[in-house]
Subunit: 210 residues, 2 copies
DNA sequence: CTGCCGTCATGACATCTGTCACGATCTTTG
DNA sequence: CAAAGATCGTGACAGATGTCATGACGGCAG
């Protein structure tokens, strides 16, 4: 039996959804919250398995509530249900610990499936959501990996990593126990090897691909 | 009825999985591929709804096959089934169009559920996979957004965007039709406003949050 | 052994970068 | 109108950065 908590400020929508979900034999609704603050309180009281969380709510929005609840009760699964597929909401919710993100327009059978999936610890994202999220990932492509392995030496890789963290020559030299001159030589070779112009471009390259 | 294609080089595993999946009333297996090349060919011939794709395969690995198939048939849903949860595989697969990523250790009932979910266009990621993916996202937090809107002026925002692309002062000046001196003044104010030290840190900041 | 390569280092030079002081517009606000 | 702020510009200075030539040391393959 999966224990559910609903968090949504639109009363009719929430009650309607509650009725529909209660018809499923393996779902029980243990609480309903009309804002983020209440959601946090009720979560502590009822310890649900899954929370259906709206984003736009008074007092404390769904994103912030997600962050707090996930920090306090990391084992509770949060499924965000939003009217909007705004990029910021999506990314923040997921980074704050939400496991799923679906639009409110999702048909109920799909929604109940999603609840079951999420309750087992799997993530589920809606059809329009998934591409947005995945396109933001930055994997190392084979070309760039070869660039790192063939063009740069061991030392140079250490240097460019520090470069990617915004360190200047002095700091790099101290970290690696080198002279500043040596660091500058290394960077010089990195730049010509990767065909970049200056340390800023190298730093951006490092942040993107390392 | 969901049409399935299995791609895996381990014969016993693939045949076993095929038998188990064939027992589901709403699943049909329309083809089995022993490597990436065959997977691409068979996809063209049988036009499955969902492909279960292994990562490590001879001739053409699952990641590359995913890329090619998704480019050619964007409507076909690909669910990656891997023994490993290596970050690179995950990120690349998802960016190349895979909708799901599960470990082979996933129990069959969960797997069939995932197939149904993915066949409807939703994404599903395994419990160990999801956190890895979501932690790589870089949403703008409210703090940083306020930093941009309150601390930086319109012009300064234009400048820092170009900075984030690795431009030097000369290029920024030309792009915005300014003198180099003015650009340097703007950058100077950006650095103090965001409490950064030099253009490299500002560029990294821009790439992360803009 | 000898040459090659990576590593580390130095000095010198030109250029780029960041800061400061100062002044000029122009628009907005009281 | 007057004050305030954003914008643009200049000149000057110190420091950071990129490049080059040069040399030393150690390891490794032929």
């Amino acid at each position: 039996m999966i224990h559910l908590l609903l968090a949504d400020d639109q009363v009719e929508y929430r009650k309607g959804l509650a009725e529909l979900l209660a018809m499923e034999p393996d779902l029980t609704i243990v609480g309903q919250a009309e804002n983020g603050q209440r959601a946090i309180t009720l979560t502590g009281q009822h310890q649900p398995d899954v929370i259906l969380m709206d984003v736009r709510m008074p007092l404390c929005n769904g994103v912030e509530a997600t962050r707090i609840i996930h920090q306090r009760y990391p084992w509770i699964r949060i499924l965000v249900l939003s009217t909007f597929d705004e990029d910021d909401y999506i990314c923040q919710s997921l980074q704050f610990g939400a496991l799923g993100y679906l639009l409110k327009s999702t048909p109920v059978p799909q929604l109940t499936d999603a609840i079951r999936v999420v309750s087992q610890g799997c993530s589920q994202l809606g059809p329009t959501i998934a591409p947005k999220v995945f396109s933001q990932l930055n994997p190392i492509t084979e070309t760039q990996r070869r660039a790192i392995e063939n063009v740069l030496s061991e030392r140079e890789r250490e240097v460019i990593q520090l470069l990617g963290k915004g360190k200047n020559n002095k700091e790099i030299a101290q970290t690696l126990h080198l002279s500043q001159g040596t660091v500058r030589n290394h960077i010089s070779r990195i730049l010509s090897g990767l065909e970049l112009r200056d340390r800023t471009q190298a730093a951006l390259w490092a942040q993107k691909y390392l």
